[in-house]
């Protein structure tokens, strides 16, 4: 894998983060080095407490007291910015705004007709035509998360950050949303970083899987997923990959044959 330096959208260099509480400090991330190219789909997998959400929040500019450097297209990340979109585990739509208005939330400085055109484009992209004037409480969990993705994409970010975006959805909706996300990614070619604890989700989506281990959060291994898309969730190669990732977490344990999502 040769990744030309100028091609790198995102560069993380020895990023560490500690939370201090009355004297004692807890190191959540230690020496994270990672470089991500334009248009790549990265999944960060790890158990709870491995700092994967903190890592994403650093990239989003929501956590600022870290050491090391984070550069997006050469410029250091100093706070939230429209060059990065963020999708949370909960949809976090504003309940008093319609689907349309929620999608337009981050692009309010655009002239009205441009904004309307963008909203129309993203409503269609996430497959919510006909629901423009619905309010969030009228939507299902999956639909609300589609709106959240559209809202994050509307600012045309270089980088889309997703923090366990489908974690709260039921298994079938989750699979459908993974397919949707992949379709959106292949159309938009936005660089995506998705944090998850779901190994199968990572195998289905990612170009590279970053495996993290906890206390302190470090990168344990980075796996290239050289499987053709759309990937068969049950094929031999997928199963093999799942086994190898599974071993990273549960060394020396037998993998149940019928392990499914």
């Amino acid at each position: 894998m040769s990744r030309a330096a100028q091609n790198n959208t995102l560069q993380l260099q020895s990023v560490s983060k500690s939370f201090g509480s009355n004297g004692s400090t807890l190191t959540v991330l230690r020496d994270i080095d990672l470089s991500i190219s334009d248009g790549e789909f990265i999944c960060v997998v790890g158990g709870s407490g491995c700092g994967k959400t903190t890592l994403l929040r650093i990239l989003a500019g929501l956590e600022l007291n870290y050491t090391g450097s984070v550069r997006l297209a050469g410029a250091p990340v100093k706070g939230p910015g429209l060059d990065r979109g963020l999708v949370f585990q909960e949809h976090r739509l504003l309940p008093w705004l319609t689907v349309e208005q929620n999608i337009a939330f981050g692009i309010s400085e655009l002239p009205a007709e441009q904004r309307a055109a963008k909203v129309r484009h993203y409503v269609e992209l996430v497959g919510l035509k006909g629901f423009e004037h619905s309010y969030p409480h009228q939507l299902s969990g999956g639909m609300a998360q589609r709106v959240a993705i559209a809202r994050a994409l509307a600012g045309h970010p270089q980088l889309l950050l997703l923090d366990e975006p489908f974690g709260a959805l039921d298994a079938l909706t989750r699979i459908r949303m993974q397919q949707e996300l992949l379709r959106i990614w292949s159309l938009q070619r936005t660089t995506m970083i998705l944090v998850t604890h779901d190994i199968d989700e990572a195998i289905y989506l990612a170009d590279r899987i970053v495996i993290m281990s906890p206390r302190p959060g470090t990168i344990k291994r980075i796996i290239d997923v050289d499987l053709l898309r759309p990937r068969d969730r049950t094929s031999f190669l997928t199963t093999q990959m799942r086994q190898s990732i599974y071993r990273e977490f549960f060394a020396n344990e037998e993998i149940p044959e019928d392990y499914e999502i």
Binding site: L82, E90, R92, L94, W96, L97, T98, F105
Partner: protein, 277 residues
């Protein structure tokens, strides 16, 4: 129910059923609102009869029709409009003043934590002073004219508006505020686009309870010292021994209070339509 034998066989089954059941269930099909009116209506009829037959002393509890007549007479002489007008004017001015102040102080303390910590305990304890306890002080400070009444009503309206807005703004879901941060909103933009809309439902409840208290305080103010207004009309009725005037004022208070609350309720429902749609 006059379906002859041969017709029944021609009717679809479902229709036959409804025809059969309809008369029996008719009494339960009365809409809830009408159902709730039955007891008061019966009470009024009973009251009318008991007063007519002299079982209720007419000078203490006159019949509903007598009260209605009193209202009509008051309206005819123009006295009613004068009293109602001044009371409504006091409510509108006092409520507007109190609600504005409540909004400003509530917004200030709701947004700035330090301000909330400094002022909230004091305001919380002042809130517990009963309305009537303020009256002598306000009369002393602001005199017997309009300003003391307006001040008192404003005070009544102030607390619920302040309280609800301040607490609602300081309790906005931090997750929504974070969404604002992600889209680089700060200061005024964050307040306008996230905090205020999130606080709006509680704010409207505050406005409505403020209006309710404004009505309580206007009665207190007008009873203690006024020469016009519905509260004065009540005292006048008491002084001249006309129970029908007192009761007429009470009923007018109820109607006006409900009416003004209804206006706020409608406005609130419009602003919060996203909740019910």
């Amino acid at each position: 129910m006059s379906i002859s034998g041969q017709n029944i066989s021609a009717l679809p089954f479902a229709e036959t059923i409804t025809e059969e059941v309809a008369p029996r269930s008719a009494s339960f099909r009365v809409p809830g609102r009408l159902l709730g009116a039955i007891v008061p209506a019966a009470g009024i009829v009973l009251w009318e009869l008991l007063s007519r037959f002299g079982i209720f002393p007419p000078n203490a509890l006159p019949a509903p029709t007598v009260i209605a007549q009193t209202v009509i007479d008051l309206a005819r002489t123009g006295e009613l409009w004068r009293h109602m007008g001044i009371t409504l004017w006091r409510i509108v001015v006092g409520f507007a003043l109190g609600a504005t102040l409540g909004t400003l102080v509530g917004g200030f303390t709701g947004h700035i934590t330090l301000a909330r910590k400094l002022f909230d305990p004091l305001l919380q304890s002042l809130r517990n002073i009963p309305s009537m306890a303020w009256v002598p002080l306000f009369l002393l400070w602001l005199g017997i004219q309009e300003s003391s009444k307006i001040g008192l009503i404003a005070l009544g309206a102030f607390f619920p508006v302040y309280l609800n807005l301040s607490s609602a703004m300081s309790h906005v879901d931090p997750k929504l505020i974070e969404v604002g941060r992600v889209y680089r909103l700060s200061g005024f933009q964050l307040i306008r686009r996230v905090i205020l809309p999130a606080a709006l439902p509680e704010y409207i409840i505050g406005l409505r309870s403020g209006l309710g208290l404004a009505w309580m305080f206007v009665v207190a103010a007008e009873i203690m010292g006024a020469s016009r207004g519905l509260g004065f009309l009540m005292i006048d009725g008491q002084m001249t021994g006309r129970a029908s005037v007192i009761l007429a004022s009470v009923i007018l208070f109820a109607i006006l209070g409900k009416g003004t609350d209804f206006i706020l309720e409608l406005a609130g429902r419009r602003l919060l339509r996203y909740k019910t749609q």
